[in-house]
Amino acid sequence: MKQVFGRPESLVDVASHFCPGCHHGTIHRLVAEAIDHYGVREETIGAASVGCSVFMYDYFDIDVVESPHGRSPAVATGVKRSNPEKFVLLYQGDGDLAAIGTAEIIHAANRGEPLTVIFVNNTVYGMTGGQMAPTTMLGQRTTTSPYGREFSQDGYPIKITEMLAQLEGVAYAARVAVDTPAHLAKAKKAIFAAFEAQVEKRGMGMVEILSSCPTNWGMNAIEANKRIETEMIPYFPLGVFKERKGSDFF
C-alpha cells in the first residue's frame, strides 16, 4: 500500500506541549517538510527564541542553540557568519521578534543575512499567560490590556512584514495563515520560498504566519480559527510583499 501521509523526517516523534487548537504544531510540520524537501536537516543549525517557540529544540530533529529573548537574529548572524555553508533557521514569536528583538531582526534583515525566519504572530504573549503583544489587535482584551487595546495608550498592532519588505537585504517577505486548507497550501509555498532565499544565498527570507492561541484568546479551536479570518486578516493582509530573484543586488 502506498503511504500518502506521514510525519516529516525532521520532526521528532514526541507529543508536543502545545495547547489544543494552537497552530504552532501545524507550522512546525510545514517547516519540517521544508527542511526535508531541501535536504538540509544535517546542515541546519536552529536559533531558538524565547516564548512558546523555544521548544523547537525538542521538536525539530536538528542542532539548535538557544538565544536570549529577541536576540536570535543576532545569534543566527554569529552562527551563519562563522559557518556560511550551514543552513540557519529562526523561529520567533511576536513578542520575541516584534517587541524586545526589533533591533536585532531589522539589522539582520538590513545586512542581508541569508537566514530563514519563521515569524509566528498570534497577537499575544502565549507562554507568559496572555499579555498584550505589539501585534495585539485594537480592542483585544489581554491580561495587560483588560479594557482592550487602545491606540492612544498602546499604539497600533505592528505590521512587521511590511516593514521588513522595505529593507534591501530582504529577499523574500510574505504573510500567510494556516486557518484553512487553501491558506495552508499558500503557507507551505511561502515557507519553501523563504528556505530558497537562503539556499540560493539571496538574502533574508521571512514568513509571518498568523496563528491562533485559543487558550489565551479564551476561545475554542474553531472560534480561534474563525477569528483569524474575521479579525486578523483584514488588518494583517496576506500576500507576498517582497520577492527578489537572483543575487545581483548584493
Binding site: E66, P68, V75, G78
Partner: protein, 354 residues
C-alpha cells in the same frame, strides 16, 4: 625577533588573530575602538568576519552564536557597553559557550567619562548578569600581558567552556610598549567537542541551551557549573608575587593601578624598607591563597585601586582579619602618581595612618 611597539588595544587585537580568532562582533565605544578598527582591516583577508553590530546586545549574541559552533570569536567594549552585554554573558555561561569578551574600562556609573577606571571589578568577578555563575577574568598590567592573557583567555575559555573576560582600562588600552608577538599552538584538543553544533549529520541532534525545566535538572546544572568553577579555581589561579621574607607591608593592586603602585614600592625599597607586591592576574578566580600566606604572617596589606574599594573586599575575605588591610582608592577622572602611593606606604610603615 624585533619587538613591535604597540598600543595595548592593538596588542589584544593581534593576540586574537594569533589565537586563531577569525570572528569579531562589536560596536564602537571609546577607549577601545582601536580593537575593531584593527580587526576590520585584518580579518577579511584571513577569511574571517568582522561585523559591526547594531548594538552591544547584538554583538554579544553574535559571539554566542559563533561560539556555539566551536569557532573562536571575540567581542570588545568599554564599561557601559559591557553592561549591555551582561544578558548574553549570562546565557553563554548557562549554555557553557566559550568566547572572549574584552572590557577596556572607562568610568561610570552611567555615562561617566572616558578616563581610566577599575570600577567594573565587581561586575566582572561576580558574574555581572543574572544567575549563579562566574566568568574567568584576566587583568593584564602591561602591553605584553594584553597580548599574552588574550591568548590565555581563548585557551581557558575553550578548555572549560566558559566565557573569559579581559579586564583592562583606558590607560592600558592607549599606552604603547614593546611587544613580542609570539604564536601559540592552535587546535588543542580539550577532549570535549561533542557539544559543538555542526548540523546533525550522521549523529543525534545537539542542543546548546540553558533552559532546564525538569524536576531538579536546573539545580543539578548549577551544581555542575559550581564544580567547574572549583576546578578552574584550583588549576588556573594566577598572581605575580614579589614579597620579601621580612616584608613589613604588602601592597596589592591589579592592572594599571599595579603599575603605578610598583614604582611606589620600588622607591620605598630603594630607601631601605621591605615592602612586598602582590598583583592578582586572575581576578576570578581570585588568588586568595596568596593572601592567606600573607595573613599567616600577619603582614599588613595596602590595596590600591582606581575605584572606591572593590577588590579590597576579596582581600579582606581571604585574610579573614589575620592582617590589617588598608585601602587607597582613586575614583575616575584622576590618575594617582607613584608619589601619592609612596606617601601612603610611608604613613603605614610609620604607624601614622589615619
Amino acid at each position: 625577533m624585533t619587538k613591535s611597539f604597540e598600543k595595548g588595544n592593538v596588542a589584544i587585537a593581534k593576540a586574537a588573530v594569533s589565537a586563531g580568532c577569525l570572528y569579531y562582533f562589536g560596536y564602537p565605544i571609546t577607549p577601545q575602538s582601536d580593537i575593531p578598527e584593527y580587526l576590520s582591516g585584518v580579518l577579511p583577508g584571513l577569511g574571517g568576519q568582522f561585523v559591526q553590530a547594531e548594538s552591544e546586545v547584538a554583538s554579544i549574541n553574535m559571539l554566542l552564536g559563533a561560539g556555539s559552533t566551536g569557532k573562536r570569536a571575540m567581542t570588545s567594549s568599554s564599561s557601559p557597553g559591557i553592561s549591555l552585554k551582561q544578558e548574553g554573558i549570562s546565557y553563554m555561561a548557562g549554555s557553557e559557550i566559550p568566547g572572549v569578551i574584552v572590557n577596556i574600562q572607562r568610568s561610570g556609573p552611567g555615562l561617566g567619562g572616558i578616563s581610566a577606571s577599575q570600577g567594573d571589578y565587581f561586575q566582572s568577578t561576580r558574574g555581572g548578569g543574572h544567575g549563579d555563575y562566574r566568568t574567568i577574568v584576566l587583568a593584564p598590567a602591561t602591553v605584553q600581558e594584553m597580548y599574552d592573557l588574550t591568548i590565555l583567555a581563548f585557551d581557558l575559555s575553550d578548555k572549560y567552556r566558559i566565557p573569559s573576560m579581559i579586564l583592562a582600562d583606558a590607560m592600558l588600552g592607549q599606552m604603547k610598549e614593546p611587544l613580542d608577538e609570539w604564536k601559540p599552538e592552535l587546535g588543542i584538543d580539550y577532549g570535549h567537542s561533542e557539544w559543538i553544533l555542526t548540523g546533525a549529520k550522521g549523529r543525534e541532534r545537539r542542543r546548546v541551551k540553558s533552559l532546564y525545566l525538569g524536576d531538579g535538572d536546573l539545580a543539578e546544572h548549577n551544581w555542575r557549573l559550581a564544580e567547574k568553577h572549583k576546578r578552574i579555581a584550583e588549576n588556573e589561579t594566577r598572581a605575580s608575587v614579589d614579597i620579601p621574607e621580612d616584608a613589613e607591608l604588602v601592597v596589592t593592586a591589579f592592572g594599571s593601578a599595579a603599575r603605578i603602585a610598583r614604582t611606589a614600592v620600588d622607591r620605598a625599597r630603594e630607601e631601605g624598607h621591605s615592602v612586598g607586591m602582590l598583583r592578582p592576574i586572575t581576578l576570578w578566580p581570585f588568588p586568595a591563597e596568596e593572601f592567606v600566606k600573607v595573613g599567616e604572617k600577619g603582614t599588613p596589606i595596602l590595596a590600591v585601586e582606581l575605584n572606591t574599594g572593590q577588590m579590597v573586599e576579596d582581600v579582606e575575605i581571604a585574610v579573614k582579619g589575620a592582617s590589617k588591610v588598608s585601602f587607597c582608592g582613586y575614583p575616575p577622572g584622576y590618575l594617582p602618581s607613584p608619589d601619592e602611593i609612596y606617601e601612603k606606604i610611608m604613613e603605614i610603615l610609620k604607624g601614622e595612618e589615619n
